[in-house]
Each structure stands twice: as C-alpha cells, then as structure tokens.
Point group: C2
Chain length 439, copies 2
C-alpha cells in the first residue's frame, strides 16, 4: 500500500511492470504463477529451496546475495571459523535463472494491485515495480536499540558477515593498540574491556568465542596482555531465558567462575565512544560494545499498513497468511512476522520450519495449519562446553559441545560448507586462530 | 634526517626514546643490538624469519600485521582462493614478543642519532620515537599512476588483500547490476567491460583469473550474461616484457585467441567514472579499471634525504647498505630500494633473496656481496595454462600450470596455508567459486 503516488506515476509504473513481466515471460512460464520471495534468511531460503519450480515462476528479491548460517556467526568474529565458510550464494540455488534474482530492497507494496516496488541495492535510486501472483515476506528484523542514545553511532550489531568482520577488526585493533607506546595503563584497560549487551544466545555465544580467543590465542601471541582483557555481559533479565532453568543455572555458574568475565544484571541507558552508562548511573569504560537485544522492524515492514503486534511484527493467521491482505496471496514468516494465535520466539529454527511448511502449502501438498514442534535448543558457552535441550534430554558440558558441533555440521546447507567448516575447526585447533587484520 | 624539528622537541623525544628503550630492555636483552625491521613484505619478512634472535633484539614496524603471498593475490579477486588462505600473521613469527611489534607507519628517520619516528596505524596522530642499532627498510612501493588524472579516484590497485576484496566486490556488483531492470543494453555492456592497465605479471594474471571466472562461473550462474563480458588489457610496450621472447609470444597468441579478451598497445591518459581515454583520444567505456603499472615511492621513502634512482628508489651498495648513511647501520631491500651496481626487477623473488642475504649478513655468517641468481619465473595465463622460465628450461601450457601450482605450494610460508590453498583449489574445482557478495 503505497502512501504517496501520483496518478501518472501509477500508470507509468503499471505499464512498465506489464512490459517487464512480458519480456520475462516465455510460453512455458506463462502457465506458472509468479511467486516473489523477499529475503534470503532461514525462512525465505527454505521456501526457495523447497518450492516446486515447475508450479511457480520464482523471483527472489533481497539485498543480500547469500544465505548465512547465523548460529555460527559468532564463531567468525574471532576467526574460529572464516566468514565465507558459513555462507552460500543464493544463485547456486536458483541456478541459471538470471532475471529471477534481484539484489534489491522491497520499498513498497500495493496488495490490491499485487505490485511490489523495489530499489536496487547496487544503485540507490534505481526504482522499479514487479508484479506477483503470490508473495512471501521473510526479510528478518533489526536489533532493537530501545532508543538508547549512541547505539547506532558506537555499538556493533551481530547480524551479518559484515558485522562480524567489523567486530573482528575492532578486537584485533584494540589489542594491538593497547600494546603501543604512549597508551597508558588506564586507556589500555579500557581498550581491552569488551561489553556485550543482551544475554540471549547470540550475546552468550559471542562472549564464549571471545573468551576462547583470549585464553587460547591472545595469551599465546601477546604474552601477559591477555590478563588485561575483561568481558562484561549486561542483561536486564536472565541470560538464556528461553532455556530450561537447570541449564540456565549451569551456564550462569560456568560463566561466573571465569576470571575476568562478568555478568551484570542491569540496563544500558547510553552508549558513548568510550563506554556504556548503566541505569544506576555508573559508567563502564570499554573499547567495544556489541549490541544484541530484541528485534525491531525493518523500514519496509514499518511502512506496511497491516495489523502488527507490539514488536511491530506483521501478524499472520495459522497458515502464515498475512492478516489484512484480502487477496489471499501474501504470506509472511520468520523474524519479521508473528502468528497471531501461536506466538513463537525469533529463532532460526522457527523461521526454517515456517519456510518448510509454507513451501509445502504453496506446492499444494498440505492444507493443515502450521504446527511447531521444538526440535531442541543448543548454545555454546565456551571452553568446549555447550548446552543442549531436546525434549526430555538436557545436556551440558563437553558431550553437549560435541553434539553442538556435529548437529550444526549436518544442518549446513551445502557440501562446500560441510567440507570447509570442520577444516576451519581443525586449523584453529592445530594452528590457532588467524589474527591477520584485514580492512 | 628530519627536516623540521625544534630543539625542545628533540630533547623530549630523545629522553622519551631513552625511557622507552629502558623500559623494554631487560638484562639479557641489553647485550643484544636492537634491529628494527620496517615492513612485512617478501624482503622484510624473510629477514624477520631468518635473523638470529639471540643476537638481535628484533622490533618490527609495519602498518600491515600479516605477510601476504602476493603471487596468488590475483586468484583471490574472483574467489579461486580465499583472502585469508594467502596471508600469515607476523606475530606468529615473533611469538611472545608483545612490545616488539608495532602496527605503525615510519614517518621520519634521523640517521645520525639513530632515531626512527613512527605514527600508529591504529590511532592517527599517535607519534613516537624508537632507537635502533641497525635498521632494515623494506616497505615496498606504490603503483605508479604516472600522474594520469582520475587513477586514484576511479581505478583499483592490486597490492593488498583489501584491494582484492574491493575488486571482487566490484566484479560481483557489476554483473548483478547488469541484470537489473532499467539497465539498458549499452550500460549493461559498459558495466561488464573490465579494463586492466599494465601487462606485467600482475595484470596478466588478474586478466587470466577474471577470464576463468567468466568462463566457468558466470556462464553457469548467469545464463547468457557471460557473453556480454569483455576484458581489455592495455600495455604501452610488450606484455610480460621480462619473459623470454618465445614464451611471451606464446602468451600473446593464447590471449589473442580468446573471445572477448582484447590486447591494446597504447597508453591511458585519463580515467573517469565511466571508462578510460587512450592517448589517441579514443574513449573506452568500462565498469572497472585495475591499475598495475610500475612502482612509485611511498611517502616515507620520498621524504628520506638519501641518493635515489629515477624511480625514486633508495640506492644501496652491493651489501644492501644504504648509500648516504654514514653510520653503516641502515639497510634497504625489495621494491623500495635498488642496488646501484646491480639493478634488479621489482619482484617477490628478488626481495626474498635480498632478505635471505641480509639476514645472513647481519647474523655474521657472510661478508660477501649480494649476488642474484634468477631461480626462474612463472605466470598463470588462464584456462589451466601457465608460463615457466627456469634457466634453460622454458615451459608453457598445462604442464607449466601444474608446475606453477606445485611450486607455489612449496613456497607458502606455513603449514596452515599449505593446507588451505589446495583445499581452496579443490573447492573451486568441485563447487565453483564463491560468488557471495560480502561488504
């Protein structure tokens, strides 16, 4: 539903879209419905993989040309894994369909006319329209800053490979800088204090990887320097709140035992270049803030005029159909959406299950409602220890860590990745992490 | 030799340096001479590896914290190899010597007082001095733009991993952009025209890798799109001029046989956002220009008040001792220097041999002059073909390509790289190159 649009522009865009559609459509394709998939994350990518390409003329619109295996993203911030070991180009999946992949943002949607407006992610200002018969919205969400001042300017997020790269650079920069002449003890301590805001799996796993890196590599390469490294995890409620209480307590105990790893139960009210302020007024000087709390809607979702929940997520019915769409052709899944009568957490697992269901439904193989069976949760807490929670099985420690690694291996989306990830792990084990600082 | 310096500043800097030196120097170190190595390329890195650490207190000053295996850099621009598969952190070599590695630029040198002024590469403006007993200058060179307007603004260099990453991004961006709506045929053709200026090994190898990428991956993933890709190599003299004539002719013939790969013998007089102008006035529209011609001195070398050659390289005697240094303690090697009586080309091989010699000399194991024996040259020309020129042996084609690959493998500096590079090659062979676009 576009907000401002002149009549002339509508006519032009419509005729352009028709023309565009015509040029793309060959005879054999004409019988197929056009399905546009927005996004390339867990939900959308699963729809893309499972959808019947004989039944649908599939078009993907996404500003990111690869699928990212998010559960292993934290491992890339310190080099346990390499960035390209956990991503898979989308074009490898839609093989030989040039005109059916758009490296673009969706910017507006006319649900009645079934027109999607896009803007090129490669040339800002290059706008164009696409027609669709069916639309799947799965563009994920942003981190929620809760309007805390300074987050955008000074904190790092951990959502994409580019974020992980920036974090890796900052860690290496701060460690090197702390060794330089004219950096006094106080400034050195500040540079080596890393703050994580948010005690969900991402925050905890990043903290775990950072801890391993300091223990295993900084200690080896920087002599006594690792003794100055401090990590603080700030969470306003409980860490890993979605886990079973016993496992949560285990994680808390393990983390608290660690030297120079601190848990603070508080909220951050300001982020500056030099540190964070807590709600009791205390200022913690630090050299890096990683912000990983909650979800906030992306601009396209914010602009959509459909019913949403408190977090700004699009509401769908139990068939993942968008409530407020009268045409029956718009679906939404993953972090950008919420099922009205079955609210679920924002996890990769939920998004992927939704994608699997939606592809089946669109392929005409099911008319059932979406049902969610939790297949279990896992998280890495550092020092070769993890937490695993599968129905009735709750594991911790080293066996859980082994399970964590093998489970992820089987979940990786291609043989290329399944070959590279264990090699990265082997390299890290044999030679330590790569501390090259590459801009 | 500093140019502008107030007396007060000198006194401050001297006392600071003394203090600094004192804090760093333990009793056992006091007996050792302090050797500062500038740079982390082929020459400097070889000195660092070979130098006797019992004899010298070694300090490395470089803005790049890793050694880069430059002959394979062109392979990373299209993903045949990954960026981190060809670099090795310097700290892995100087193991546990925290205070002896400076991620900094050298900015000035007082040869009489033996004081080197540095500026932090991590915090611009953080300046400090270091004392030395011996100094090795091996900071390489910049590409020579010959003052052609627009080169800095619009062309890409191919010297560092960051350059290769930018080129890889631009290639993927242009291919994707050329498929987008509202990009007309002419603009599409421009985006897919890649121009290389300079027919040395770097330019030729980059062209070869680009050609392989288009033939093997673009053709697979982008249907007919690869037919629009054109590559033009512009060289004002002969390509691969340092090679034997028979091999050069072979390379020229092979390259000329290729569809949509063009050799132009001309010079570039201007680079704009949309293309390059040749000296006859013709304008070639293109989507990317890679500039790899000649060498130009880095700012530190430019400021040094010592005898230099026409290219602005520091002149040394046959012991690699800098002519114009009266103290006998300053040495230079690699691309930033030239031996007055034995001018040699700017290659990795020359720099590394010089490094090997200089370490031996500084270790007190030789008093001979530096002698250069060419161990042969190799270059990859695409489609599994290479050129090899070893004394009396001149090879070309597929056998040469196999030799090219195996020779580089044995030359890689660590087991980590020797393990990763063949794996990258295998992955490329099995699954194609990774076309994920990562910012």
């Amino acid at each position: 539903m576009r907000v401002i649009l002149h009549t002339k522009q509508i006519i032009f865009q419509q005729s352009f879209s028709t023309l565009w559609k015509r040029t793309l459509t060959t005879d054999s394709e004409a019988k197929r419905e056009r399905l546009i998939i927005l996004g390339s994350g867990w939900g959308s990518y699963r729809v893309l993989r499972d959808i019947d390409k004989k039944k649908y003329d599939v078009v993907v619109v996404t500003p990111r040309n690869h699928f990212l295996f998010t559960p292993l993203l934290a491992s890339t911030t310190v080099g346990t894994l390499e960035f390209r070991s956990i991503i898979e180009p989308v074009r490898n999946t839609i093989f030989r369909q040039t005109d059916h992949f758009h490296l673009s943002y969706a910017t507006a949607l006319d649900m009645e006319k079934k027109i999607l407006t896009c803007e090129s992610a490669l040339r800002p200002g290059l706008m164009y329209d696409l027609n669709y018969d069916k639309l799947v919205i799965g563009i994920g969400a942003l981190s929620n800053t809760f309007n805390v001042p300074g987050v955008y300017e000074h904190a790092f997020f951990l959502k994409e490979v580019a974020d992980a790269r920036k974090i890796r650079n900052r860690i290496l920069t701060n460690i090197e800088l702390s060794t330089q002449p004219k950096i006094d003890a106080e400034e050195g301590k500040r540079l080596l204090h890393f703050v994580i805001v948010g005690g969900g799996p991402t925050g905890v796993e990043f903290g775990a990887e950072l801890y391993d890196f300091v223990k295993e590599d900084v200690a080896r390469l920087y002599k006594q320097k690792h003794l100055d490294v401090n990590v603080t995890l700030i969470e306003s409620n409980q860490i890993l709140s979605s886990f079973d209480e016993r496992l949560r307590k285990y994680a808390e105990k393990k983390i608290k035992q660690r030297d120079r790893f601190k848990l603070i139960q508080s909220a951050v009210t300001e982020v500056t270049e030099k540190g964070v302020r807590l709600k009791d007024g205390e200022f913690l000087p630090c050299g890096m803030v990683v912000w990983s709390t909650g979800v906030a809607p992306r601009p396209f979702i914010r602009k959509l005029d459909v019913p949403k929940n408190k977090q700004g997520q699009i509401l769908t019915d139990n068939h993942l159909h968008v409530i407020g769409d009268t045409t029956g052709s718009v679906f939404a899944l993953g972090d950008c959406a919420d099922i009205e009568k079955l609210p679920l957490p924002c996890t990769a697992q939920v998004a992927e299950r939704e994608g699997k269901y939606l592809a089946k439904k669109l392929n005409g193989k099911t008319d059932n409602e979406f049902k969610y069976i939790n297949m279990g949760m896992m998280t890495y807490i550092g020092r070769y220890q993890a937490l695993t929670e599968v129905t009735k099985v709750k594991m911790q420690g080293v066996p859980s860590w082994l399970l964590w690694r093998s489970a992820y291996l089987t979940r990786l989306g291609s043989w290329r990745l399944r070959m590279q990830v264990p090699l990265d792990w082997t390299k890290t084990l044999l030679y330590g992490r790569d501390t090259s600082r590459v801009e």
